[in-house]
Amino acid sequence: MFDTLSDRFDGIFKRLRTRGRLTPTDVDEVAREIRLALLEADVNVKVVKQFIARVKERATGAEIAKSLNPGQQVIKIVHEELVATLGGASGKLATASKPPTIIVLAGLQGSGKTTAAAKLTRLLEHDQGKQVLLVGADLQRPAAVEQLRVLGEQIGVPVFSEPTDPVAVARAGVQEAERLGRTTVVIDTAGRLQVDDELMEELAHLTDAVQPHDVLLVVDAMTGQEAVNVAESFAEAVELTGIVLTKLDGDARGGAALSVKEVTGLPVLFAGIGEKVADFEPFHPDRMASRILGMGDVLTLIEKAEAAFDAEEAAEAQERLLEGRFTLDDFLEQMRQMRKMGPLSSIVGMLPGMPKELRQAEIDDNELGRVEAIICSMTPAERQDPSIINGSRRARIARGSGTTTPQVNALLKQFKMVQQMMRSLTKPGKRGKKGRRAVALPPGMTPEDLAAMPGLPGAGMGGGVPGMPGLPPVR
């Protein structure tokens, strides 16, 4: 059984790659598979229908005939349609001509409004230099305001609330912001069911009272078919301007994003991607589409890598890599850079074509420390040319790094594998033919994937996620 949409597409595309041109039957089969995949990802049934219809129409047209590789062509069409559905370009928050800019967050209970309010505030203050006043208008849930206060303290932002009623709090909050000279007001509202007429009306009153520049619907990425009803009802009650997608750090494929986008036409503006206040980023429809397509969140990964990387060093390593001169020093360096991006477990999830068992595997970040110790116990000459490492050198390295000779051997073997994979990577169109091996994973994937990235998505599409077969499954 396929667990994720990504796996599903992996399966489809693998089959497609092995064929010549697409026949109408193929198109039908692909459409069927895509339908199942989207349904498994919780995309609304009706949205799926529309999506499939579009893909079919395009795929059976002339475009297919012109392509060199039918599989590539279909991927492209599906991807483009996904991007189009998810929003095409990224949206932006409004800025009031006369401050303060007022933003209201609304949504179901437990969708993550309060957390999103704090995360959005931090992003506005931190990345955009705004001065925010947080307003707690959720007077329903016990201690919701207290939660907001604690979060406000964490990010050093004032929080306003009073025990009156939500509309009054919102109004007073805006006045308070004017008094304090804050540029932006973020109003957290109580969670409500879209069928609760009374509370929906209250929300409408609140937005009438403060005339917000943005009203964002906070949607849990794990939401099922219901996403459509929720989005439609909220859009009816208030003038929504955008969507915030939360809990994207789980294993939900977030089909809800597709559904909500399709039925409301509103841009998904932000994504909550973790437990920490900083784990919040602008939503990238194109990347989400890639993630759904099974190309992983490669683009996000690249961005993260770029931010963490010393550009020059990376360029040098890249060059050496292309020339097949990839050394243990590079390996170590890339591994260190990789660690800067965060725990490996979260990065692996973003990588394309990762076998499911790998994606779900627990990855021991300590393993990296061990590898680092081993490499650091080598002489510069050994790092340049591991082939000189003989038995006595191995024993010395093991002693020096507090590991065992088999562990040193395993690393060297793995490095050799990576080197080979790199070479095959630099030859376009060739796929790594290596079988999976039971070697410790984390360090192995490091340079390989980073190297693969600049070439993607082109490389990923052409060769079919090259190199991945060389990756050993864990557990």
Binding site: R35, G224, V230
Partner: protein, 326 residues
């Protein structure tokens, strides 16, 4: 007691009105029609829209088809009834007991687990209300030390219900709080300890390990841990299965509490969870009120999902949504 149960049932039925809508629509469409492929497609779509998921949906549709064939049913009219029986039977196949373990004269500990925002704290409050009504003494353990002011939220409920709350430092060890709560409850002969844990995505290895520790700590006092309840939001889609699987694997779930069923969410994921994991749904949350947490009744649930009343079966199809063939 039977009167109360009955009241609870009618409440489910009432609250599930919204859930019934798609099926009701299906009923309307199936009037005076022979069974053909469109009927099966309709059935399939209806189940998918209820978040039943692909596997469960095809299993149920196959089951209904088989029933129709063996019983020689030709009218589409009869299909909803067949589906109802199919769902009912599918739910009846779950071997486990749906009642909650509560032993007089002995301390019971119920652990509430689930992803963020599923409604654990509110469920704790509702469970406490019910237990107090039944004459039990209750203690809260605020083991959510991560989310800001989570303990305050539980404490506010504690104030309202007159239930004492054992709490620790923010960012403190949830295991220690659970341990203290169990000790305190035993010392004071308290019947029920409700341990409210922090919401965590089931994919976070460290957080799941933390939860496992909480469970272990409670189990240090043998025999007290009687329920590990997975609190699941009814709006959850297919990810609910993944959640249930991980929580069941990591901390051993004894039952599911399906919350927020008072919206239009259909709760179809329950079918998948029961059939694939064998974890029984024990309670459903059908409203905001403290007594809106009622026992899950498979027969009633199936009936409420499938049966449509007449006024609702006349709900017209939303134009432009269903007419596109895939």
């Amino acid at each position: 007691m039977p009167a109360e149960a009955k009241e609870g049932r009618s409440r489910i039925r009432g609250r599930l009105k919204k859930s019934r809508r798609p099926f009701a629509k299906m009923r309307g469409r199936m009037r005076a029609r022979r069974i053909d492929d469109d009927v099966w497609d309709d059935l399939e779509e209806t189940l998918l829209l209820a978040d039943a998921g692909l596997d469960t949906t095809s299993r149920l549709v196959d089951g209904v088809r088989a029933r129709a064939a063996t019983e020689g049913v030709g009218d589409a009219d009869a299909v909803p009834g067949l589906l109802e029986r199919e769902i009912e039977e599918s739910l009846a196949a779950t071997p486990a007991d749906r009642s909650l373990t509560s032993r007089r004269g002995q301390t019971d500990v119920w652990l509430l687990v689930g992803v963020n925002g599923s409604g654990k704290t509110t469920t704790a409050a509702k469970l406490a209300t019910g237990a107090i009504e039944d004459g039990h003494s209750v203690l809260f353990a605020a083991a959510d030390t991560f989310r800001a002011a989570a303990a305050d939220q539980l404490a506010a409920w504690g104030d309202r219900l007159g239930v004492e709350v054992i709490r620790g430092q923010e960012g403190g060890d949830p295991g220690a709080i659970a341990f203290d709560a169990v000790q305190a409850a035993r010392a004071r002969d308290i019947d029920l300890v409700l341990v409210d844990t922090a919401g965590r995505l089931h994919t976070k290895v460290n957080l799941m390990a933390e939860l496992e520790k909480v469970r272990r700590v409670v189990e240090r006092t043998p025999g007290v841990l009687s329920e590990v309840l997975l609190v699941l939001d009814a709006t959850t889609g297919q990810n609910g299965l993944s959640q249930a699987r991980r929580f069941a694997d990591d901390v051993g779930v004894t039952g599911v509490v399906l919350t927020k069923l008072d919206g239009t969410a259909k709760g179809g994921i329950v079918l998948a969870i029961e059939s694939e994991l064998g974890v029984p749904v024990k309670l459903v949350g059908v409203g905001e009120g403290a007594d809106d947490l009622v026992p899950f009744d498979p027969a009633e649930f199936a009936a409420a999902l499938v049966a449509g009343d007449d006024e609702e079966s006349d709900v017209p199809d939303e134009p432009g949504l269903d007419d596109e063939g895939a």
